[in-house]
């Protein structure tokens, strides 16, 4: 068993980065995630593992530092919160277009604009649909506990290097600020240039020895045919992720008439909602997507065979709900899909969720059969 | 006193005919040719080869690195 500690989610992100052999962190302060860099600066990992930590002049600079480090084959990361992630959008697109591995953490706060500093899940579209320009996808992991904040740092790097694609941990201010018991991972040594080459081939800019051709990190291609071929290659990669990397968790779904779909902080509340609903005699289950991209389409299709309705419960005005609808539609089902969520930094209560479920599915609850659109 | 003789070799196909070498030459050795290369540029050539001392000014200012310079005492 690893070292047990009581820690904040944001602090754990920092600790997990040091322990998994991260080479560099580049960030800019923004509430509610500033503890990530503060923890790193206090820990001084450069003395311990050689990890570089640098406070950049902006989120724009941070993400381009990540680009530079990732282009040298290093395990590098940044963290920010919603407005800061918007500023990074261009850089993230470049990283995806140049096929570089890295980790970006978004500890979401309410928007749009400067919004609020309270928790939110309103950056779902930005995270899973790209966010920056061009056809690209991030691997998006949504932790629901401080323990998962710890575990997903290493997992993100593993997936990022496996696919040479940026990975994102999409969390929120509640999980970032929350203190929980966490079992920390053991220390892993940082990779050497040789190990990186062994793991993922010779593509990094490390300085050109006479034994190989020069390596170029770029997303630019003026030949449309080659650019289209690049896009096809990216899409193949995303398809492979959809086949192999979907992660989710089911809670009381076996006999469920209604499925709540919720991730991150929201899913923790919805576990309680399931219990309340069941105590009232309603057969409600919970599907918790762990990967938001790739999205768990297949299990939704399967659940749609029996379920009378899906309720997407997000701290947003309804974003993930669209992906659930698509999954149901793709499966050829007409199961009704609804959304419930509070915004502006307000976290819904378990009771509110049950009330919303009863309200939005009153027809199904009264008549017990699916109705057509 | 030993005389120095130089020679300029222009890679005709890579020359873009910008003429910077022509004005850089202190001995009026180079001119742009009336003929053009396959890209349509009036390439540089030694119009006055005997005047060349191989100072390489032409090569240094050439943006396309299409000039090679030789020099020997005669």
């Amino acid at each position: 068993m690893g070292e047990l500690k009581l820690m904040k989610g944001n602090e754990v992100l920092a600790e997990a980065a040091i322990r998994c052999g991260c080479d560099g962190y580049f960030g800019y302060p923004i509430t509610p995630q500033s503890e990530v860099m503060e923890t790193l600066m206090a820990r001084q990992p450069w003395n311990e593992t050689g990890m570089v930590v640098l406070q950049a002049e902006s989120e724009v600079a941070s993400i381009n530092m990540v680009y530079g480090g990732a282009g040298a084959g290093k395990k590098v990361m940044t963290s920010s919160s919603s407005p800061g992630i918007s500023l990074m959008a261009e850089g993230i697109s470049y990283i995806a277009g140049s096929e570089l591995p890295c980790l970006i953490v978004n500890v979401q706060r309410g928007g749009p604009g400067l919004g609020t500093i309270q928790p939110s899940q309103a950056d779902y579209f930005q995270a899973v649909k790209g966010g920056g320009h061009g056809d690209y996808k991030l691997i998006v992991l949504a932790p629901a506990s401080v323990q998962e904040m710890n575990d997903f740092v290493d997992l993100s790097f593993e997936l990022a290097f496996k696919y040479r694609n940026p990975a994102m941990i999409l969390t929120d201010g509640a999980l970032g600020q929350m203190m929980e018991k966490v079992e920390l991972a053991d220390f892993k040594p940082r990779w050497t240039d040789e190990e990186i080459e062994e793991k993922s081939g010779s593509w990094a800019t490390t300085g050109k020895p006479s034994s190989r051709k020069k390596n170029i990190v770029t997303s630019l291609e003026m030949d449309s045919n080659i650019m289209e071929a690049n896009n096809h290659r990216f899409q193949e990669k995303y398809k492979k992720m959809e086949e192999d990397e979907v992660r989710y968790e089911l809670f009381h779904c076996d006999d469920a008439d209604f499925i709540i779909v919720a991730y991150g902080s929201s899913s923790r509340i919805c576990q309680k909602s399931v219990e309340i609903a069941r105590s009232k005699g309603l057969k409600v289950g919970l599907l918790r997507p762990i990967t938001l991209f790739p999205f768990p389409n297949k299990i939704i299709a399967e659940l749609a065979r029996k379920a009378k309705g899906f309720l997407s419960v997000e701290m947003s005005s309804g974003q993930m709900v669209e992906d659930i609808k698509l999954a149901v539609y793709e499966a050829g089902r007409n199961t009704r899909v609804n959304h419930f969520g509070r915004t502006g930094g307000i976290i819904h209560t378990p009771e509110e969720v049950v009330e919303a479920l009863e309200d939005k599915f009153s027809w199904e609850l009264n008549y017990g059969v699916k109705r057509s659109y | 006193m030993a005389k120095v003789q130089g020679a300029v070799v222009v890679n005709i196909e890579e020359c873009k005919g910008c003429g910077l070498c022509v004005v850089a030459c202190p001995h009026d050795v180079l001119q742009l040719n009336k003929e053009v290369n396959s890209k349509g540029y009036h390439y540089s050539y030694m119009a006055n080869p005997n005047a060349c001392v191989g100072c390489a000014h032409c090569g240094v200012v050439c943006p396309d690195t299409c000039i090679t310079v030789y020099r020997a005492k005669v």
């Binding site: 570089v52 950049a56 300085g207 770029t218 630019l220 | 020679a7 004005v23 943006p63």
Partner: protein, 262 residues
């Protein structure tokens, strides 16, 4: 002596360095970029730095710089080369890292990144090509466009009341304690180019000695953007650009020792 007797390897005095690729450059005839690329390539070869060098290409005309020098390269987002270089030199302190940026890239969209990288004293070389115009996008006004200069977005000439003043960003850079060697050079004549090469060499040595950021501005021409002949552009540059951007060293020091001469 017959030419064929003269043109022999033992008589070679000037030729192409190995670090330069055979790929013909995409630059317009007479463009200063080609000369600066060549100087850098020669120095990387002469100083034995090929295995250590990582270049950062900008967005602008030099976006394809990575095609021309046989070294590892990263192509940065517009203006962000100093941030990219910062991470590289921090993570790989034994490498030689340089950015190659134009005036739009460095002094406009990337003004924050260059200031902060220089202020932190990152041990990188910055090559700054100042031709007072946006070449790649078709000749628009740059922060360094001089007063009265006609561009496609200042068709009546740069009006300082409307467009602000031409920015002497190198002078600002020289005031930052993180920089060690800050100089302004040109490559329009053979002697200027040779002098520029000596400056870049000194800048590289400073970077390798971890003295802080070295910054070499090269006042350059963009004859296509300026709508002049290459030779005419050189003359115009001497008459109009260099008086506003005078050549010479602005600072020769070590990071933290403030000996700015301006």
């Amino acid at each position: 002596m017959e030419l064929k007797d003269l043109i022999k390897p033992e008589n070679l005095v000037y030729g192409k360095t190995k670090i330069l690729e055979d790929e013909p450059m995409h630059y317009c005839p007479g463009c200063s970029h080609g000369v600066v690329h060549k100087l850098l390539a020669e120095l990387i070869g002469e100083m034995g730095l090929q295995e250590k060098t990582i270049g950062i290409a900008p967005v602008g005309c030099a976006v394809f710089a990575y095609k021309y020098l046989d070294i590892d390269w990263q192509e940065a987002a517009h203006g962000r080369a100093p941030a990219v270089a910062t991470a590289l030199i921090r993570l790989k302190p034994d490498n030689f890292v340089f950015t190659y940026q134009g005036d739009g890239d460095l002094a406009s969209i990337g003004a924050a990144e260059i200031m902060h990288a220089c202020n932190r004293g990152e041990n990188i070389l910055v090559i700054f090509i100042n031709n007072g115009i946006y070449g790649m996008t078709g000749g628009q006004m740059a922060p360094t466009t001089i007063e009265g200069m006609v561009t496609s977005t200042t068709p009546g000439g740069r009006n300082v009341d409307l467009n602000g003043y031409p920015m002497k960003i190198t002078n600002l850079i020289a005031q930052l304690p993180g920089t060690s060697y800050v100089t302004r050079q040109a490559v329009h004549t053979a002697s200027a180019a040779r002098k520029c090469k000596r400056s870049i060499k000194k800048a590289i040595e400073n970077v390798l000695d971890k003295k802080g950021t070295s910054f070499v501005e090269v006042v350059s021409t963009c004859n296509s953007g300026w709508k002049m002949t290459p030779v005419g552009a050189n003359t115009w540059m001497e008459d109009n650009m260099i008086p506003y951007y005078p050549l010479g060293d602005l600072k020769d020091s070590v990071k933290g020792e403030n000996s700015s001469e301006n």
